[in-house]
Subunit: 319 residues, 2 copies
Amino acid sequence: MKSIFYTRFFILLPWILIVIIVIDIDTKRLSVRNTASFYLSRLGNVQQRQVVRTTRTSSSSSTTASSSSSGRNATSLPVIYAITPTYSRAVQKAELTRLANTFRQVPQFHWIVVEDANSHTELVSRFLARSGVRYTHLNVFTPRRFKRTGMPRATEQRNLALGWIRGHRGSKDKGVVFFADDDNTYSLELFEEMRSTRRVSVWPVGLVGGRRYERPLVEKGKVVGWYTGWKADRPFAIDMAGFAVNLQVILSNPRALFKRRGAKPGMQESDFLKQITKVEDLEPKAKNCTQVLVWHTRTEKVNLGNEPKRQQDSVFIEV
Amino acid sequence: MKSIFYTRFFILLPWILIVIIVIDIDTKRLSVRNTASFYLSRLGNVQQRQVVRTTRTSSSSSTTASSSSSGRNATSLPVIYAITPTYSRAVQKAELTRLANTFRQVPQFHWIVVEDANSHTELVSRFLARSGVRYTHLNVFTPRRFKRTGMPRATEQRNLALGWIRGHRGSKDKGVVFFADDDNTYSLELFEEMRSTRRVSVWPVGLVGGRRYERPLVEKGKVVGWYTGWKADRPFAIDMAGFAVNLQVILSNPRALFKRRGAKPGMQESDFLKQITKVEDLEPKAKNCTQVLVWHTRTEKVNLGNEPKRQQDSVFIEV
């Protein structure tokens, strides 16, 4: 009698334990309120992502790359390749900090950071290494003759990133390419909208063109025009932060680049998009382009009027 | 014989399952790289946090509160109460978006958002409800006579938040109070530094006072002066983002408030800190005040020069 009792007890005990463990795991997930579940589920996804970093230096003196790639991730979500040109200035680390704080929560995310510099700066290298975001670090210096007002900016940096993608990704890779300038503000929803991009997708951008927002006008699921207050005759009246391109479109149009010669500021987006798509083929996102999920914020130039000419502090402090 | 085999099989099977489940959970945690582990561990913590929201309206017409409080969390980390005054403007939702993207990753975090408004605005209410951050939403309107240049800002909002804390937390609660303006940039490390605040802690702030940074000067673990380029004679030459106060210090000094009458801009921090501490008692954080973990960034006022006088778009879009 006693032996039967023990046998049953030892058979039941572990099953009870399994049920408790499974319920415990589920409860933690379900205890999150529905209204906040979108954001918190992002956090869960990131936790599962592997961040593996390898360093590689190309032969070109002006272009070096340290690439980070996770071993093929089990999940089948397309990877979002966000291309961020950046340059040395007082607010650079602050801008990169809040960008990384956002990007860290986007699952299957690959940050391509391109410095306008002759080599990797220590600040950006150190920052990226401990950012917790999968990344590739590139650099290319913009020739001085292109650094005048009235000239489009970050052309060389974006093109270098496109070149990197074309050299390191193939026809079997699933992904979406997005141009993420370093001072804009991004909601997490934006990345889930762009992830399903089949060819080229578009959406509204806040605080741009002298208006509260610009947006593609949509009728019956097709883009039929542009709501904008600035250069309305642009073929694609859209900001750099207002579109994403499927990786395979980037690969199958190997000569599509941002133009330096003959390009005018504000026309970079149109010049690029003309090479890969037509207005009628654009895929509207963000509820038929009626939601603002990204903002063209601009950070004030810092007043350093009281900065001493010579180092006065006893230590050097990175800012 | 057969019966013994089955018995053993059914005894062993569940134990094997338990081992597999436990190993699986651990592997997910350990697969994260060390260099990025700080940031990714933050994400894990947030996932475990419960976000429970309750709504309450006080009797005062100008002050309403919806409070969110998690049931006493099992973890014993002190709660960080971040007080953020905010006001309606073109970039408000963008600023709150990137703040929430940062705060969402801080464990045991409670965001006290105080609007300068006569009632909760719909924009902020909706935003907070789906932010994924534990929060309390308050509002108080700044009288017009205080809205002149040369007047300190957000005094009423910060004081209302201090009042809320004093009314809703007691001597058994563990916490740290921090003033988090809505346009600054915060690293996640900052919150781990301030979490151990016993009375009042201090650290450097980047891009402030016309310099790359301001910081408390530390000798033998004590604050002995201030590295600053602006009003060096301030008793506490520190920005609002440069200090945190233990919750019990806030509770045991119930009359400590930000002064409106007689206060000068730039003296708010000193006026407040004088009421609760002395310079020699300050606790230096961020490696003896040699690391910049928060930046006093300022967002450009938006150019809305092309915004139509009347609604031109066919839908209303929140920005």
